[in-house]
Symmetry: C2
């Protein structure tokens, strides 16, 4: 595994040096053999994940939302009245790291922290009107550009099967 975002794209620069064409090679720099790397699920998994995240960022670029931020907005919309610990936990974010993330969203007026009257330790998280508007626009971009592109590449049936298997791994592995 490994895989970053940019690089590896120009790996093809190591191609032919401009001689022969048919079946005669003097000492070419052939493409590297991937070997059993092609059979490593984790390797393809990571490369695919980077590609998908990259496309997500491009598709939702006008709204300046990262995948993580989008997931927070989605959760806040579907689960009003929750505090930071609850939201962070279900997203797999550690509470300390969630603080700066919320600061970012709150400074953009996409959500707000409200001191709970029941438990004055916790902050109830709510979407602002602007947050709801941005989320709505983001959903449209994701559906019409991002997910649509994946559907086009794999086909609806395969896409559904892929999602199901990934969810299975995430849940039971």
């Amino acid at each position: 595994m490994t895989v970053s975002k940019t690089a590896a794209v120009d790996a093809a620069k190591t191609s032919r040096s401009a001689r022969k064409e048919p079946a005669e090679a003097t000492a070419e720099a052939a493409a590297l053999q991937m070997g059993e790397l092609s059979e490593l699920l984790g390797y393809s998994l990571k490369r695919a994940q980077l590609k998908v995240f990259d496309d997500f960022l491009r598709c939702v670029a006008p709204l300046q939302l990262t995948p993580a931020q989008f997931s927070v907005l989605l959760l806040l919309d579907k689960n009003p009245g929750r505090n930071q610990t609850e939201i962070a936990n279900t997203l797999g974010i550690l509470r300390p790291n969630f603080v700066a993330m919320l600061d970012g969203l709150e400074s953009r007026d996409l959500c707000a922290r409200i001191r709970s009257t029941n438990d004055r330790r916790s902050h109830i998280l709510v979407l602002t009107d602007k947050g709801r508007a941005v989320l709505a626009r983001a959903k449209k971009l994701v559906a019409s550009k991002h997910e649509a592109r994946l559907n086009e590449l794999l086909g609806p049936a395969n896409r559904a099967a892929l999602l199901d298997m990934l969810a299975t791994i995430a849940r039971e592995f």
Copy 2:
């Protein structure tokens, strides 16, 4: 999206408070609604990737190899006589970041840099005997523990289909 390694596991701590059982609830802290997050391919993709990498680390822990290190050893074995740029490129690692990585492998005597006689700028990378031995053991652990577990979870056919789709995304998305 978001997803880290540990957290989110204890999200269930927010469960029932120890009252009622059938269909009567007074004000429970129910599980959060994932909403359209369940349909976001990138979200499941990342969660699955983290799980798979985590399992990989556990399975190959006796050899102290990360997924990235394993992929380098695999490539070196299948592609002798290559230099740092070539290996780094095909793995999607940026050359500057590959230096420290190689330092680590070389300091453990798993591989070695050899100045090329043709081009004295480049370092030909080779596996040491120890490197080959470690790689062989790692392959066995990965096959018998890691990949076997995925096969068991998904079934061989599904696993193959999953790998194919991930490779497609990594290649054409």
